[in-house]
Amino acid sequence: MNAPGEQPDKQVVRASGVRMSYGEVQVLNGVDLTVAAGEVSCVIGPSGSGKSTFLRCINGLEPVLGGSLRVLDQEVGHTLRGGRYHPWTPKEFAAFRRNIGMVFQRFNLFAHHSALENVACGPVHVLGTPADRARVLAMEHLERVGLADHAHKRPHQLSGGQQQRVAIARALAMNPALMLFDEPTSALDPELVDEVLEVMKGLAAEGMTMVVVTHEIAFAREVGDWLTFFADGVVVERGRPRELLANPSHERTRAFLSSVLHPKERQESQ
């Protein structure tokens, strides 16, 4: 985490006026947002506000249809050549995504692979790491998320929390420069949420650049460097989590926070 007031040295994500639509339905209406290296950016907002879609635009899983989205010094989906932007080939998309880890709400572990194989899969098939070496590294990543004992279990033999921790290890195995979390605890039973959040806190403490779409307000307050509130496909406001939670400046934000915050939490944040 950056100390408050410290100048970020590099913008990993720089979105300006990002627009996206599914057919006639406008999902993103001009999103402006920056994420600096080493920062944890939490994104909250009502469902349908476009926060997950924006996250998926960052690694090119959804196309940006307007504005500019620069990630890791590249315009996502396009390369500037001879004065024009040329759309990426599937290969160029693949090369770009190697540097960005993504954790999904529904884990999406490869069902035909053990936990260890899931973690080793990216290095072996994408980076060309020799299988033996990849397995050793994968084991280290599983140890890091506390699942070395479960290395040979298949996803369906693991609890939701364990599966999500394997999914985090799988993303980390690619040594990403940026990690995206798409509501990583929303599909979990309440008692399994903390084990996943603990792993994410550890990552943040190590200085990983993270964009986290979440409903865990307490996590955002404790771990986030920035908190962004999304509604109707735009960023309504952005600020330091404690300040924004305590004194939201927009009516929209106030209404959302009062509907999601437990009364006790609301007291704490004031």
Binding site: N59, L61, P90, K91, F93, A94, A95, F96, R97, R98, I100, G101, M102, F104, R106, F107, N108, L109, F110, A111, H112, H113, C121, G122, H125, V126, R154, A167, R170, A171, M174
Partner: protein, 302 residues
Amino acid sequence: MRTEPITDASGRQTPVARTWHWGRWLAAAVALAVAARLAYLIVANPNLDWGKVAEYVFHERILSGVWVTIEISVLATALGLILGVLVAIMRLAHNPVLSGLATFYIWFFRGTPVLVQLIFWYNLAFLFPEMVLKVPFTMIGVKWDTNQVMTGFTSAMLGLGLNLAAYFAETVRAGIQAVDNGQTEAAYALGMTPAKRMRVIVLPQALRIIIPPTGNEFISMLKTTSLVYVVAGHDLMTNASQIYKANNRIMELLIVASLWYMLMTAVATFLQGRLERRFGSEAVRLVRGGGLAARILPKAAA
């Protein structure tokens, strides 16, 4: 069914009577009687010479026919499976021309009888007396006489294989579409290309759905090969028919052929069972090392 006596609260035991399923006994007796009578009519038929059946069951031409039937079945199934996967992938392609062509292929080969297709391939020489493969605008190339290429064997293999591909493509498509889209997204997020995602992540999982019906396709193919006799493919049915056309022992030779078809089906059914057990519980490693045979027939106790 309960045999233990019922003991009430005061400790008194009352035995339970046995139920006699009279209806079941009666139905079984009638069915057995009918079956026995039919079997007797055939086995004890004075017009049927069981000696001839015994004489021909291991006849040289029958055995070579069995071998050709197995060859055609295996090759046509292999051709059908490989082509079926390609057609299925084309069908799912974003390119509308590719997917349209695949749809047309499936419609065409499912829409025409396989018998017609067999005869068509066998008589291809009427349309193309010579088959020429050459580099355009040069004289470099090779040329074959179509009648020599399109023997009964090759036209059988082509006809049955291309036909199976059309049916199998739909099975593969269903298998691929049954794999959760989240698997594709996770593969892309890791930096896989669409082709790698298909080969490493989607197809191995789709195989669980695709593999079990392939056993059925093969079993059905074993018997469909009997159609090959219209193009004289020297398979079991062709050879049996040639023998009975010479000696007029039609029923005996049909029994001989049926015995072999039943034996082949039994073996194939056994293998299919192993295949399904293998793919039902265990993960699919087919695509990642280890041949198919090694997977179906693991070391004895494994």
